[in-house]
């Protein structure tokens, strides 16, 4: 389904989603992030990209698996599977959209993750094509995506100035459009020509090149023991920015949080974790298979451009560029791949 939505009708459409929780980018504290849209307020889709990726909707920073307590000396476990309202997220950039099916793979492969899917099944992603790259670090096209890629999105919107072109990609997306059908107009030939032109132009901007992705995987395989890794990680500070902001990084930790040591009450909680932290792989004995920053940088890059490819036949990177832009010390995954490729 393809429709035209005039800018001023956006709110009319959003208002028809009144049984859903609607989120959209909002600029607060000098950063763009997804925020709840209160009924009767406008959505501002002038954002570049949100600082946090859309992954937090299905993989929140804190997920309680279950509560535990003791009754008559016997542990009683109460699972806390989330039961969210249907959630619609506007303004999702195509790079984030493409992150979603990659996360689906992870949380679905050998064992299905019920917490992830409880949220995922209720989630509708309304994408917004990038008419031009919002950062010189964008490289979606270098990893098989595009500024108007539909993969992972339920709806793709394209900004045509005074109006949006809106395309329902999945059944879920079409349904969300159906509900606001009165707000939409038909697509004229002129509209179609314009949207095609906007998409074409959006693809024509230069992006950071990576080159042949198969060759990159091969180069990474060959470079496992290369001294390059230590060199490239020389100034790494070992923080979690790159992975926490990444739309596809999904590593986590599980801990018991005790509420009362006397009653034995507590919660088992999943939190985000990060392959760049020193304790991530450290055995209880103190032995650490990835004990230095070089091996941890290698893990991050290999996971995305080698291991995930070997396991799932696609890169686990969608070229959003957040890890590059936000790295405090200028570590640049595209430059890393370039150096590995040249070595």
């Amino acid at each position: 389904m393809e429709k035209i939505l005039r800018q001023e009708k956006l709110r009319e459409w959003v208002d028809t989603l009144d049984d859903c929780e609607v989120y959209a980018p909002a600029f607060a504290d000098s950063v763009w992030n997804f925020a709840r849209v209160e009924a009767g307020t406008d959505i501002d889709l002038s954002h570049t990209n949100t600082i946090g990726s859309v992954k937090a909707f299905t993989f929140p920073q804190r997920e309680v698996f279950f509560r535990f307590e003791k009754k008559d000396g016997v542990p009683v476990l109460t699972p806390t599977l989330p039961d969210p309202k249907p959630t619609v997220v506007f303004g999702v950039r195509p790079c984030d959209g493409r992150g979603m099916p990659r996360n689906d793979t992870v949380f679905n492969k050998e064992f299905e993750d019920p917490y992830y899917w409880a949220r995922r099944n209720k989630l509708t992603l309304v994408g917004l094509a990038c008419n031009q790259p919002h950062s010189p670090n964008c490289f979606c096209q270098s990893v098989g995506g595009s500024p108007h890629a539909e993969e992972g999105l339920d709806i793709l919107m394209t900004d045509l100035g005074d109006r949006f072109h809106v395309k329902g990609v999945t059944a879920k997306g079409v349904e969300a459009m159906e509900r606001g059908r009165d707000a939409f107009d038909a697509v004229s030939d002129a509209d179609q020509t314009e949207v095609d032109k906007v998409h074409e132009t959006s693809r024509s901007y230069p992006q950071r090149p990576i080159g042949d992705l198969d060759a990159i995987s091969e180069a990474l395989r060959e470079s496992f023991d290369s001294p390059l890794w230590a060199d490239m990680a020389q100034h790494c500070i070992g923080c979690g920015i790159c992975t926490f902001l990444c739309p596809t990084c999904h590593c986590f930790d599980i801990n018991d949080e005790v509420i009362s040591p006397t009653t034995g009450e507590g919660e088992r909680v999943r939190t985000w974790d990060n392959c760049q932290f020193p304790d991530f792989t450290m055995h209880t004995s103190g032995h650490n298979p990835r004990g230095d920053l070089g091996s941890r940088l290698r893990q991050r890059v290999n996971h995305k451009f080698l291991y995930f490819v070997e396991n799932h036949k696609t890169q686990q990177c969608t070229g959003c560029g957040r890890c590059i832009t936000e790295c405090p010390v200028g570590i640049d995954i595209v430059a890393v791949l370039e150096r590995v490729g040249q070595s």
Partner: protein, 274 residues
Amino acid sequence: MTDNIYLPKIGRIVGIDEETQGARAIKTFKVEFPNDDGFEHDCGQCAMLSMFGKGESMISIASSPLVKEYKQFSIMKMGRVTSAFHAAKIGDFIGIRGPYGNQFPLDDWQGRDLVFIGGGVGLAPIWPVIQTAVARREEFGKITVFYGARTSSDIMYEADFERLKESVEVQLSVDAPEEGWSGYTGFVPANLMDKAPPPDNAIAITCGPPIMIKFVIQNLQALGFADEQIYTTIENKMKCGVGKCGRCNVGKDYVCVKGPVYSWAELKRLPQEY
């Protein structure tokens, strides 16, 4: 609704054996499922054990798959969770989810000689294989079990070893012998060289401290064992056990799913990340 992969079943400790003492003490726990919701497992698989309020730890299932009434775990006191296990008493409740990981390909080894080489708590992961092989004794050729501990009092499953001697060759060794010790004195790899089991039509299965495994494999190769004839298990830090949390990988393999059992031929192809 699918099964909740993170929700443990409740287990009850019905037996505790003190195997070794000291800073790295080992205890063996027998665990029953009071709610009759237990699971079957294969040789080499692991389970994620919980002490509620302390956390979870991935532990090899040390009992034979043929034993259905309980599961057995030998746990070395290492950190928060394992210390809680060592403080536990018979009747205490734990959480248990699994089984996780792959298995020793016992069916592929029919008709062959089996050489087991274990050291310290490393006997636990291969113990179910030994038990199963003994139970299906006629399917295999000669079976030899090498096992080494620091002292004779540190030998795990001591009572079971006596029974084992009836059907297989047992070669025990200690690093520091007491008076009256009749077995071999010295490290396991040396005992292996001393007895020199023939490699023809044989499979070697080893587990123990990393340094022991390293020398055992060197010595097996010196004895003429090919890489495909050598099996071992590896371990890495694990949190989820289901291939998602991202930390136990060795190259592209999540050890919790693709491991812990590897032939040396397979392991050589993986990067050294364990």
